[in-house]
């Protein structure tokens, strides 16, 4: 009996080991060949056929939206893409390669099929070469002919995507109404060439996707959205940049009914940069962005925005700036999870820099609510300044929740620098809030500026008048006096110049000068 048990254990172990060993590494390189020539198993040019690399990720994940075509890789496999530039989307040769899946009239659907799921211990990996050594030369995947998206994680779980530069080669925004000349083509031409140009609509699309790692990925300059991802869970996003995508950076709304996009689990973002979305990145890339427009001009413009969602959202050192609507919009959290933000940088987003709902802890961050930053600029139609009042917004969805806002430095021209709805967030319906809802506001510096619309100065905090929740103030510096009366005599608030390096809105620098009361207890400020 003992031997039988040991034998069974050994068999299980061997199966496990064989499972690991069965994973294959494939290669993509610019001098590789199609799957009809190369089997992808060697990091070698097509001249070494058949043991040579593929010339595109499309070969590993052939389009299959119309006619089934099996992926050339299996769950748990790894694809390593060499440095270089690779088109993703319709090419003339693909009509032969992939049949009607890439017929010219269907060009936008000619994109890689979803990445096959791996396992928790053996994820499927799509990697740029150097992914494990600093990712100094990520391969560029550039979308073309209006590809609906360039990478798909629809139904894909246990996946690692690392060290990729995902973009397109066009300077246009889909449905850009202010200037038809800069509107990406919406329809194929009907000829042999789709005539859509070198743009793609979405960089990364995902739904029903669990246990995904995105690392060292830049998603920028897409015609519509950088990322569209809903019904995801347990994603770990590290050193990812989402920039200059025409309509929205990271869109969590898949459409459909209100609950169609709900996420869950741990959603952890470290060193995420989300910038200049709602504007279009120049192409050729020169570091500039234009065509900035917002929701009142027919666009969207959130940096990262979610539909109704759960999930435990954690952001470590995020940067959200210059998006033409909200920077980080988590207003539609359903109260089942939480938001934690630490050491963030939020600046010059046109709407609210930050919106949260439910339990939230926001610490050690800098907020520059310069929400009228595009006012008077040369954009064809500048986004409306300070949409929804601008500033930072943290709502409750139910009694008993706690919002902590601590050790932050905030400056702004918003209606109010911080606050929330006294009746809870609108997405989940109004909630009856009471003293069990707690807002802890401590050890912050607030620098008050004239409101963007010339109507006096910003208010400090608004949670209703009187607020139904418990607000605990401690050791805050406010300067100068805010709009609402009596703040400077509120316990836990000291109205004194914080003596920062530069308190001007446009050139704000939060480093306290040597004599600043922010360093220690002084000028009546308790540490």
């Amino acid at each position: 009996m003992m031997f039988r048990i040991l034998g069974l254990l050994l068999a299980v172990l061997l199966v496990g080991l064989c499972g690991e060993a069965a994973a294959t590494t494939y290669y993509v390189r610019t001098d590789g060949g199609p799957a009809s020539v190369c089997n992808g198993t060697a990091d070698a040019p097509s001249s070494a056929a058949p043991n040579c690399a593929w010339n595109s990720l499309m070969e590993a994940l052939p389009p299959n939206w119309l006619h089934a075509q099996a992926a050339k890789i299996a769950g748990g496999d790894t694809v390593i893409i060499a440095p270089g530039s690779y088109p993703i989307g319709w090419l003339a040769a693909y009509g032969t390669r992939f049949g009607d899946n890439c017929a010219a009239p269907y060009a936008p659907a000619c994109h890689p099929q979803p990445v096959p799921s791996g396992t928790a211990g053996n994820p499927t990996r799509i990697l740029g070469a150097g992914w494990d050594s600093g990712c100094t030369a990520p391969p560029e995947l550039w979308g073309t002919e209006g590809a609906n998206w360039m990478l798909s994680l629809d139904g894909s779980s246990h996946v690692v995507i690392a060290c990729l530069d995902i973009t397109d080669h066009a300077y246009c925004t889909l449905n850009y109404r202010p200037d038809p000349a800069r509107t990406c083509p919406y329809h194929v031409s009907g000829g042999a060439d789709p005539g859509m140009g070198d743009y793609a609509r979405v960089g990364l699309h995902a739904q029903d996707s669990d246990d995904v790692t995105l690392q060292d990925v830049s998603i920028h300059g897409l015609g519509d959205q950088g990322v569209q991802a809903g019904r995801i869970s347990n994603w770990t996003v590290t050193r990812v940049t989402v920039a200059g995508n025409g309509n929205v950076g990271w869109n969590g709304d898949l459409g459909g009914n209100g609950s169609n996009s709900k996420n869950s689990g741990n959603l952890t973002f470290t060193d995420l940069v989300v910038k200049w979305n709602g504007c279009q990145e120049h192409y050729p890339v020169d570091g500039g962005y234009d065509l900035c427009y917002g929701q009142e001009q027919g666009g969207y413009g959130d940096g990262l925005g979610e539909a109704l969602t759960g999930g435990v959202w954690t952001f470590i050192r995020p940067k959200f700036y210059r998006n033409t609507s909200d920077g980080l919009d988590l207003l539609y959290l359903d109260g089942t999870g939480s938001v934690t933000i630490d050491r963030g940088y939020f600046a010059r987003n046109v709407g609210n820099d930050l919106k949260t709902a439910g339990n939230a802890t926001i610490t050690n961050s800098v907020f520059i609510a310069n929400c009228a930053v595009f006012k008077g600029t040369s954009q064809p139609v500048a986004p409306n300044p300070c949409r929804a009042g601008g500033g930072e917004f943290a709502d409750f969805t139910a009694p008993g929740q706690v919002i902590t806002f601590a050790h932050n430095t905030v400056v702004g021209e918003a209606g109010c620098l911080f606050g929330g709805d006294p009746t809870g967030t609108g997405q989940t319906g109004s909630a009856v809030l009471d003293a069990s809802n707690v807002v802890n506001i401590h050890h912050n510096i607030f620098v008050i500026k004239p409101k963007w619309n010339g109507d006096g100065v910003s208010c400090l905090v608004y949670y209703g008048s009187p607020p139904p929740m418990t607000i605990n103030w401690a050791s805050n510096i406010v300067w100068p006096a805010p709009r609402e009366a009596g703040r400077c005599t509120t316990a836990g608030i000291t109205c004194v110049d914080p003596q920062l390096t530069d308190e001007a809105l446009g050139t704000f620098n939060p480093v306290p000068l040597t004599g600043s009361p922010a360093w220690t207890a002084s000028a009546g400020v308790q540490p």
Partner: protein, 145 residues
């Protein structure tokens, strides 16, 4: 007194004398006496260093300085002197006149240990975001923001 003028009178063969015409002039006035030196100086202290601005009228005299800490100088004109310790010192200036005599002047000066600016605070500020230095801010603040 100047040297006397010698007038030579020659006797002629007939026993007479030729006496040259003599024009008598009043004696030249004596040169004016050298004015006395006038010592004067002002001082400013900068930490342990005193800077002395010499405002004296020398009238040919020679200066010597005594800084009151056991050191002296015969360098003429403005002075800069550093003391080893904080304290009150008597600075003396003596001018030796060209024709003798001395003209002294002394003043006191107080020097103190230099004011060392406090080191920049270390660690994170107690209130506000933990951005303590310009370098930290430069690392956070994007150029395209």
């Amino acid at each position: 007194m100047s040297n006397p003028t010698v007038i030579v009178i020659n006797q002629n063969a007939d026993g007479s004398y030729d006496i040259p015409a003599i024009t008598l002039r009043p004696a030249a006035a004596a040169p004016p006496a050298q004015p006395d030196p006038v010592p004067a100086f002002s001082m400013t202290a900068d930490g342990l260093t005193v800077n002395i601005t010499d405002q004296s009228v020398l009238n040919g005299g020679q200066e010597s300085w005594d800084f009151g800490d056991g050191t002296a100088s015969v360098v003429q004109g403005d002075q800069a002197h550093s003391y080893a310790q904080a304290g009150t010192y008597t600075v003396g200036l003596t001018i030796a006149g060209a024709t003798g005599g001395t003209w002294p002047l002394s003043q006191t000066v107080t020097v103190a240990d230099p004011v060392v600016p406090p080191p920049p605070p270390s660690g994170d500020p107690a209130i506000g975001a933990p951005v303590s230095t310009q370098a930290e801010w430069d690392a956070i603040n994007p150029k395209d923001a």
